[in-house]
Subunit: 449 residues, 2 copies
């Protein structure tokens, strides 16, 4: 796809410099999905994209505009005059529009908003007030609705009128004059129902809805559990204020996974990597590294306290990286599996003891295999039986500790209503490092002296 | 939700033991979504669930059955007699049915399949042949279709007939007598078009489709890029063989993220954790731990080669965990960000140099901060200026190496058409460990002696 975009770029540029360019642009992109047009236009200059959008007009040009990310949208937006800017804001999907307005600098929006039609302006003002991460922040106000007392035949006429500018007409919400949510009819229900029936007779009154302040990740989970195409968003009085559609939620699921992955690597909050400068990226990552270094300081301190032992048996130090690596890796595996399991709800809070038992059993198996291997390595390198035993025993202890903490700490954090992902591999590794070193020297002291 | 399920369990059990239980079960679950019924029934015994399914009948009972995971489905399935088993297989959604049949032991399916109606039997045989992970393996054959020469009015009648048993009727595919895919009409198109128009006049002929052997993750990405509700699956001759709907793909996105997370933690392939015994879990995890230990062996070897240095300056060993921790954590951050970026296509192959430059810049910033801190710690613990300098310089080198490898190796692996996630934090950490130790002793040799 990328290649195709790069190849066609000069062709579009030639058209943009020719006469009758609007017609030629329209012909070039005729019948194409806006995502495909986006792929072809991605490599153009901002002004050239703006020209294409103008040529394509409403709605295709707006659909194309909406394919770009916020940063690029802003650059392209600045290429238009104020009238066009206002047109674009009026025609965008309400959810995308609110996100974009929030992204624009305030002085710019204050300049343009007065030019936007009143209805859309009020809609923007309403939507931008919902806190990021809530259902309200991702919902659209372009939903299809009906009143309950009309017939199916009348309903079809009403839906036809709404079909052009609604995000979906496949789920239609039944509301009363106060916009209170009464029921749901799908377009499938309407198609198969006799035309004389009342909407109230065919609607499903047991509507699953979500509250406007609900977390968007919970909304995604609900939609996925129920296999819905859209879910209605209501306020405290059960008034319908918007809908969240499934296409917006695929992105939420992906974003959520990325955030979790960043946390698991102690890489800070998710930021747009390609667009952030190194200072911004470093800032995201340093906080965790500093915490880990402070914890790591105690490892150095433990070693310093055992200076005499190290002095008299320097070979002890050879196996420190191996020992810490074993514990760290085993702990990372275990905490990752538990944290992900909690996130996808494959592991539930009440499974607490089961998980701990399983991790300890796994730790015993894995630890024994690694210890055997570690002992053999110690013997190979150092030809010292006692050292082999010290390394082996310490490795079993270290792995058992690591998997137990990897299982316990994320569940404990969830219990305390903290984010389990804070107890990720790097953090568990630091704690295991310190305790493993203490155990290592204790065992050495018993066996050597 | 879980609580509600646990509370109502005794109530359902009482009903199941009473007279007129079928009516009472139906009344209890009237108008409820099958996911809600599932939540209420989850804690019942297998036989009790089977009784509920029988009482609810077709289609609600089948919908309920489909909510359980394969293992639980199997247990419940075994509670039915053969006639019921055949009925259930006939009524299940084709995609779910094929997955379930693949999950059943072969001797069991050979027993039941002859009782299943011929059409469904052939459908099962066709679907189970697609390799796992392909579009064919997740598609359903219950799609709605039309021929191109009928009018919109006739189309509505055809759709009404198909509405009851199709996965979706919102996307309707236009095919010729050889089932070749000609176009797509949405139910929205049909609702808004004049009834005398031909389907061929309103259909979109530029249909985005996917091949039956395409990777399901690519299908998920396509569906998400285009914001479709479903995507048609075609064979080599462009014949329509099935569709993949958006609700199946939310699960694919989540599964994909879980698999990636497991790889990033070197935790092996994803398995159902709660249902696997400790030996199975240990088996998944051991392979990677053994590789990491073998690599770790070289750390011990490097240390052993520097025995004299350690002997004469035992304090050198104090800072080994700190040094390796800094490199390991920085490398984990960098490789995780790059691997995830490649997976979500936020980072593209051609960004190679940009990513490397950025990581080196980030490494320089982060490394300097950590080195400063590390030096101070060395001074605090050991009051030795030279050691402070050795630790600081080694930390900068180690972090720079770690972030470079974290950026380079995943991209290189992708270039070689290998899985970038193999170059995850734990693996990078091992390599960085060894090289960092070599650098550490080289710097020490220069500064101390």
């Amino acid at each position: 796809m990328k290649k195709r975009g790069a190849l066609i770029t000069p062709q579009i540029q030639t058209i943009l410099n020719s006469s009758e360019r609007d017609e030629k642009i329209k012909a070039l992109f005729a019948d194409m999905h806006s995502y495909d047009i986006f792929v072809l236009c991605e490599n153009l200059e901002d002004e050239q994209v703006a020209e294409c959008i103008k040529a394509l007009g409403i709605p295709t040009g707006i659909d194309l505009f909406q394919q770009f990310d916020d940063e690029r949208k802003k650059q392209i937006f600045y290429c238009f005059n104020k009238e066009w800017m206002a047109d674009i804001l009026e025609e965008m999907a309400p959810d995308e529009r609110a996100d974009f307005v929030l992204f624009l600098p305030e002085e710019r929006t204050e300049e343009i908003l007065p030019l936007v039609a009143r209805a859309q302006r009020l809609d923007i003002k309403k939507l931008i007030n919902y806190e990021e991460g809530t259902a309200g922040s991702i919902m659209t106000t372009d939903y299809a609705y009906l009143s309950k007392d009309i017939s199916v035949k009348e309903a079809v006429e009403k839906i036809k009128l709404q079909a052009f500018d609604r995000e979906t007409i496949y789920y239609i919400y039944v509301i009363d004059q106060d916009r209170k949510l009464l029921g749901l009819v799908t377009l499938r229900d309407i198609i198969v129902s006799p035309s004389h029936k009342k909407v109230s007779e065919i609607m499903n009154t047991n509507v699953i809805s979500t509250h406007v302040y609900d977390d968007k990740e919970d909304v995604a989970r609900k939609l996925s559990d129920y296999d819905f195409l859209a879910i209605p968003v209501v306020d405290r009085e059960n008034r319908l204020v918007g809908i969240v559609t499934v296409d917006d939620l695929m992105d939420v699921v992906e974003e959520e996974a990325t955030e979790d992955i960043y946390k698991l690597a102690a890489a800070g909050e998710y930021i747009d990597y390609m667009k952030s400068n190194p200072f911004k990226v470093a800032q995201q990552r340093t906080m965790w590294l500093l915490i880990l270094i402070f914890v790591g300081f105690f490892s150095a301190w433990v070693l310093e306290k055992n200076e005499d032992a190290l002095q008299s048996a320097v070979a002890l130090s050879f196996f420190i990286p191996l020992l810490l690596g074993a514990g760290g890796n085993a702990g990372t595996q275990s905490s990752t599996v538990v944290i992900r399991g909690l996130a996808t709800e494959d592991i539930k809070m009440e499974d607490f003891l089961k998980v701990l038992r399983k991790e300890v059993a796994v730790g015993a198996i894995v630890g024994t295999i690694m210890a055997a291997l570690g002992s053999v390595m110690a013997l190979l390198l150092n030809r010292n039986h006692e050292l082999g035993i010290v390394v082996g025993l310490s490795m079993i202890a270290s792995v058992l500790l690591a998997v137990s903490l990897g299982a316990l700490l994320p569940i404990l954090f969830k219990k305390l209503k903290l984010d389990p992902a804070l107890m990720s591999g790097p953090f568990i590794t630091c704690i295991v490092d310190i305790v493993s070193l203490i155990i290592y020297f204790k065992i050495a002291a018993i066996i050597f002296w």
